[in-house]
Amino acid sequence: MIIEALIGVTFLAALVVMLAPDEYAGKLAFALSLLPVVGSLYMWAGFDAGGNALMAGSIAYETQLDWLTVAGYELQWFVGVDGISLPLVVLSTVLSSLAIVSAWTPIDTRQSQFYGLMLFMEANLLGVFTALDFFLWFVFWEAVLVPMYFLIGVWGGPRRKYAAIKFFVYTNIASLVMFIGFMALVFNLPISSFGLPEITQSLQAGELSGSVGLDPAALKLAAFAAMFAGFAVKVPVVPFHTWLPDAHVEAPTPVSVMLAGVLLKMGTYALLRFNFTMLPDVATRPLVATVIAAVAVVSVIYGAMLALAQQDLKRIVAYSSVSSMGYVILGLIAYTGLGIGGATFQMVAHGLISGLMFMAVGVIYNVTHTRMVGDMSGMADRMPITVGILVAGAFGYMGLPLMAGFAAEYFIFQGAFASTVIPSAPLFTAAAMFGIVIVAGYLLFAMQRTLFGEFSLETDYEVRRARFHDVAPLAVLLLCTIALGVAPDIFFEMITDAIEPVVAVVGGGA
């Protein structure tokens, strides 16, 4: 029942904070958000699942209750975690708490509503990563959009309305496309449940029948394409990425942190669960694999080039997410233990590092009221600690060894290089690795111009050092990043354990 407790407590906390007076809302939200953190760490400590939850593996903290039956289909309250979902659950709770702290300085209007929505979003995110019934999962998945819409639209920057609506419409239409694709699969299976494990096993037993003039193979391909398109928007991959920079730039810092840190992972998590676990035979078709690998590489390179062209620090970090998510897709399509494992690890690593970067840019913005690279220089003189952490985070982004980013990217490249699924895998891998050079380029270039050299700042605001509660979450994130880099096994072992069955289906190696 720990998962129910986790989700329930977070919902309740959202409600309490919503009703609290503004002065206490931030502190109260942080205090209450520690409960799910403790809960998720407790889950981690007692974690005993083995294998993949969708492929007859054992599921930790499982609850399966009948909800309602309609037209012969059983809907269930079915939650549980395996080695893929648990790291993301921990990431969600930790990052939410830190994001709440990072909101203390910049958020000064309608605070109780802001923090209430943050907690409401966290509760739904936890639901997304633990639900094992499609319907339940979809309810949580869509419910994340609503708080995000308001968080961007009410507290965002000057073009917040445009960004909020664009985000909402884009991702909602994507969900619809994905929903139709998934339903086309379920309706043609001889099962009466929306349980993801049951659907996966039925699909892999080859029980899919054709429909509306399509044979099973064509139907699978169509469903795969619909689901991929739906999730690709969420990830996002080029060319579905255009909502992301708008949403990121307009969103307030803590919301950007959640957006880059956790929301994008919903897309890659769903891709792994739905496309790559349920329909491996479609994904491993040479043509499909080539297309996906190409999309991944284009996302890496194009995202990085876009980042290179930006003048706004936040935009740079935002576009770099497109690039990092490209790595994840490449790792997934590799279908090797290291590839998919590395991709899952990168979800966590990128969550931490991009969260760190957004927060650091946010702290600088709080002080300088500008994010333009051309407007400032020599910030290291005035804000040594913040800048130090930002530089460390940037190195993590570039893949400096002993940081989480390095471990993740190493696994992905190693896995992708050895892939038997992607035709001419070494070529794709090499092209993707070139992305690292561009990443290093734009990060070093931006830091050189803003952080170092002689101090100057074109702004009317007084420049003061960041406060303790601004820097503390940065420090925590940096520590986590280093911890994961030094000892990837904290998560990697359980991830590999859950990945193995997926890889075994297509006969991919380590």
Partner: protein, 502 residues
């Protein structure tokens, strides 16, 4: 829950009409009280009686429904007055729906009608209209169907024109009345043609006669059925008899719009479901399933596109209500004997969810009218900072009407579309899904206006109308809770729908 309390042999059979009688008696009581004390100086008492009466009706219907009255387990439908009325699960389901909406609207009207001189008339008209709807749900004869339809319609005309000093309200009432009278005559003429062809007004007899073949009169019967369908199209605001709806909903007092677009529409569907499924076989000279397919597609598409272009919130809601009539029509359009019960039940469940979310949305408009904030989207800008609770509720209604997952509207639409697919009409579900996606555009516009836009100029909201607020918040809570609690709703709806399928 007590086991099976209401069997035909335990209580006199007429008590099965208790939900309808409760509404009628309450209406009479309100009038009586007003004639004893004509100046209407006790508004709280009048509203209280009306509320208690409609809640009693809701309680009775709910009790009967859960005790299995008129359902298979307790000996089947209870027939009364020479089979002219039947009380079965479907009738009780809709009676519960009407009573719930009536209770909400009555509570909400308390503040809306402040310092209006004719409060008692308002409540009693509303209760009589609800009585008519309750009888519509139980009508088993075309004659009773016609009388019940008129009993529901006549008070509605008066309610729409209730603000008699407001030209808009009077004009709306007149339009509603004229088109209502026209479609009533079409309906009556259709009934007479069906009678001419079959020699009976009782629905099961009509069915038998039609399926036995009516020598030389097939054409007459077909025209009759077509005209009867026209009568329903009027009551449910479906194309091509929808023109009155935006005018009437816009001009009417907002609580009345809520009442008409939720309860009255559902009543039209209650009657249509029974008359067509029980009374007209699929091959009775006209393929009425095909007819409803055309109507459903045209109605939802037209309603949604028209709603997308509106500048006034109330008018947008009126057109979107036409769109929702199109969704509900899927219940009949995808009906195909045998498997038909499920999609019919899904339509009923959608109407129930709709009863809460749409009533709530119109009540929010009533709140805005109470505060005089204006009618257009722009006038609603920034309202959330002044009335956060009501705005949260309105956002819930909008997202639920659009069919977004965290709310009740998601499930009801989903089961509706899935029922259509199961019955083999996947294209009908596709049209519905596309329309539903389109509707998000204009529903989210309201949410955007409320929360994201800044108010133009300063305005004071004045007093907080407690009862209206309570009704809105209650409707919102019901809309949210209908998602986790959808199991019993859809199961009940589908099981009672199956019983009327021959």
């Amino acid at each position: 829950m007590e086991p099976v309390l209401m069997q035909a042999d335990q209580l006199p059979t007429w008590t099965a009409l208790a939900p309808a009688l409760a509404l009628a008696v309450t209406g009479l009581l309100v009038i009586l009280l007003d004639s004893v004390e004509p100046d209407g100086s006790r508004p709280a008492l009048l509203a209280g009686i009306a509320t208690v009466g409609s809640l009693a009706s809701l309680g009775l219907a709910g009790w009967f429904l859960s005790a299995g009255t008129g359902q298979m387990g307790t000996g089947g439908a209870i027939a009364l007055f020479g089979d002219a009325l039947v009380v079965d699960g479907m009738a009780l389901f809709f009676q519960a729906l009407f009573a719930a909406v009536t209770a909400l609207v009555v509570v909400a009207s308390y503040d809306y009608l402040h310092d209006h001189p004719h409060r008692a008339e308002f409540y009693s008209l509303m209760l009589f209209a609800a009585t008519g709807m309750a009888v519509m749900a139980a009508a088993n004869s075309l004659a009773v169907a016609f009388i019940a339809l008129e009993l529901a319609s006549l008070p509605s005309y008066a309610l729409v024109a209730f603000l008699k000093r407001d030209a808009g309200s009077v004009e709306a009432g007149l339009k509603y009345f004229l088109i209502g009278a026209l479609s009533s005559s079409v309906f009556a003429f259709g009934i007479s043609l069906v009678y001419a062809a079959t020699g009976s007004l009782l629905l099961p007899d009509v069915y038998d006669a039609l399926s036995g073949g009516v020598e030389g009169l097939t054409g007459v019967a077909a025209v009759g059925i077509l005209m009867v369908a026209g009568g329903f199209a009027f009551k449910t605001a479906s194309v091509p008899f929808h023109f009155w709806a935006p005018e009437a909903y816009e001009g009417a007092p907002a609580p009345v719009s809520a009442f008409l677009s939720s309860a009255s529409k559902a009543a039209g569907f209650a009657l249509a479901f029974r008359v067509f499924v029980v009374g007209f076989p699929l091959d009775a000279g006209i393929d009425w399933v095909l007819l409803f397919q055309v109507l459903a597609v045209v109605t939802m598409t037209l309603g949604n596109f028209a709603a997308a272009t509106q500048e006034e919130v109330k008018r947008m809601l009126a057109y979107s209500s036409i769109g929702h009539a199109g969704y509900a029509l899927i219940g009949l359009a995808a009906f195909s004997g045998g498997a038909g019960g499920d999609v019919l039940g899904a339509s009923m469940a959608h109407l129930l969810v709709y009863g809460f979310m749409n009533t709530g949305a119109f009540l929010f408009v009533a709140l805005a009218e109470h505060w005089d904030v204006g009618r257009t989207f722009d006038d609603y800008a920034g309202l959330a900072s002044r009335a956060p609770m009501a705005s949260v509720a309105m956002s819930v209604f909008m997202f639920s009407l659009a069919g977004l997952p965290p709310f009740g509207g998601f499930f009801s639409k989903y089961f509706l579309f899935m029922g259509a697919i199961d019955a083999g009409f996947w294209w009908l579900a596709a049209v519905g899904a596309i329309n539903s996606a389109l509707s998000l555009f204009y529903y989210s516009r309201v949410v955007k206006t409320l929360w994201l836009d800044d108010a133009v100029g300063e305005f004071e909201l004045g007093s907080t109308p407690t009862a209206l607020y309570a009704a809105i918040v209650f409707a919102a809570v019901a809309t949210v809770l209908l998602l986790p609690g959808f199991g019993p709703v859809i199961e009940t709806a589908q099981s009672v729908a199956t019983t009327i399928v021959p």
